[in-house]
Amino acid sequence: MKNFLGGAIAVLSAVAAFQLLGQAQQPTSPATGKDPALTPAQSTAPAGGSANADTKKGKGRGRGPARPQGPTPRLPDGHVDLSGVWNGGGPIGDVAQGLMQGETIEMTAEGKKIFESRESKDDPEANCLPTGIPRIAPYPWRIVQQANTHVFFLYEGNIHSFRQIFLNQSKHPDDPDPTWYGHSIGKWEGDTLVVDTIGFNDKFWFDFRGHPHSEQLHTIERYTRADLGTLENETTVIDPVMYAKPFKIKFTATLRPNEELMEYICQENQQDAQHLRGKAGLP
């Protein structure tokens, strides 16, 4: 963490913010009949990655792919089935964008110092390292659920990795090695999967802005499949080293029913980090 020293925080213009908002919904690709973003949900460029480039006047494609409708699926044992390919469900640009009503982020002095010193070139995601929790990359990801034993999150990008949640463990190891995804145990509270995670390293960022955390980070995620196409994720972030009090965020993922994950090896041709300039900030 202390390697990331340097300036203040970049502020995105109102125009850019508007553009980002406008990019949250994406048109369906007529070429594939699929959702092009699965595409970087916020991407407008470069060419071909553009959600907006796909939106042409007169095409009448509306605001984006319809969220699949239908009842919440269940496993034979009655538990909710979270399986599927999802898009979204966590912070990308700024974790504060997901703050629940009445919630605020109050960094400690140490948290502020690190936050304000971070530079874009040091973002682990830009360097093809994992996004940790709760950050999500704008690529599709898949939940694979094994009743009563494991839930796996398979990430297409960034990076091409996986996370495992143990339904068959009731407590964390006493002194887990710090890792990018920590140690996660899950249990059902009614129709909500509650995932408790500790054992994080302090290397990943919560978002492009560089919100920090320490190895004391503790997250409690609550996943609720409200209906077929909607996965709600309420996460409580607890880290007394970097934040004066816990805060709760909520993001929603959308089912992409006809998609499959693709290979995405970020390290293969990463040329960007050495060209990044300036303070960490919104994309």
């Binding site: 995105l12 213009s13 125009v15 850019a16 553009q19 980002l20 990019q23 690709s29 007529p30 070429a31 594939t32 959702d35 092009p36 973003a37 699965l38 595409t39 970087p40 916020q42 991407s43 407008t44 460029a45 470069p46 060419a47 071909g48 990655g49 553009s50 480039a53 796909d54 042409k56 640009g93 874009s120 973002d123 995601e125 830009a126 093809c128 990359a137 704008p138 690529y139 297409e156 990008g157 960034n158 492009f208 693709m262 290979e263 995405y264 970020c266 293969e268 041709n269 990463q270 040329q271 960007d272 980090a273 060209h275 990044l276 300039r277 300036g278 960490a280 900030g281 919104l282 994309p283």
Partner: protein
């Protein structure tokens, strides 16, 4: 072949977000660039597809420009293929220049000599 560097500060900035890094940290949306040249290499690789074009100036000196595209995954989902752009193609590319002064830009539009656009929108839009 030509290079046109237009600095249009009056235009509303376009600040796209890329998948794994900040667009604004790498490119200057207030420094649009349009370059014509010959494609010398195409890299259909993550995290971004790239292509390189050779641009010859009046004195015959060749400069190579590196253009960043979306990821192959995004391009593929939009219907494009790894051979949608080929070595030897004559193209005109518009995009935003890298902030650090490298011969590097983000490609927003790629137009072939016959006027057909590649990598913008989806492949079967008949552009």
């Amino acid at each position: 072949m030509k290079i046109t560097l237009a600095f249009l500060g009056l235009l509303a900035p376009v600040v796209p977000a890329l998948a794994h890094h900040s667009f604004a940290a790498e490119y200057d949306s207030n420094k649009p660039v349009t370059i014509s040249g010959t494609v010398s290499k195409v890299e259909w690789t993550n995290p971004h597809a790239r292509f390189y074009i050779d641009v010859k100036d009046a004195g015959g000196k060749v400069t190579t420009w590196n253009f960043e595209l979306a990821s192959p995954n995004v391009l593929t989902r939009n219907g494009w293929r790894r051979n949608s752009l080929k070595v030897g193609d004559e193209v005109t590319v518009s995009g935003s220049m890298a902030k650090d002064g490298a011969n590097l830009a983000n490609a927003r539009t790629v137009t072939l000599a016959d006027g057909k656009k590649v990598f913008a929108g989806s492949a079967n839009e008949g552009q």
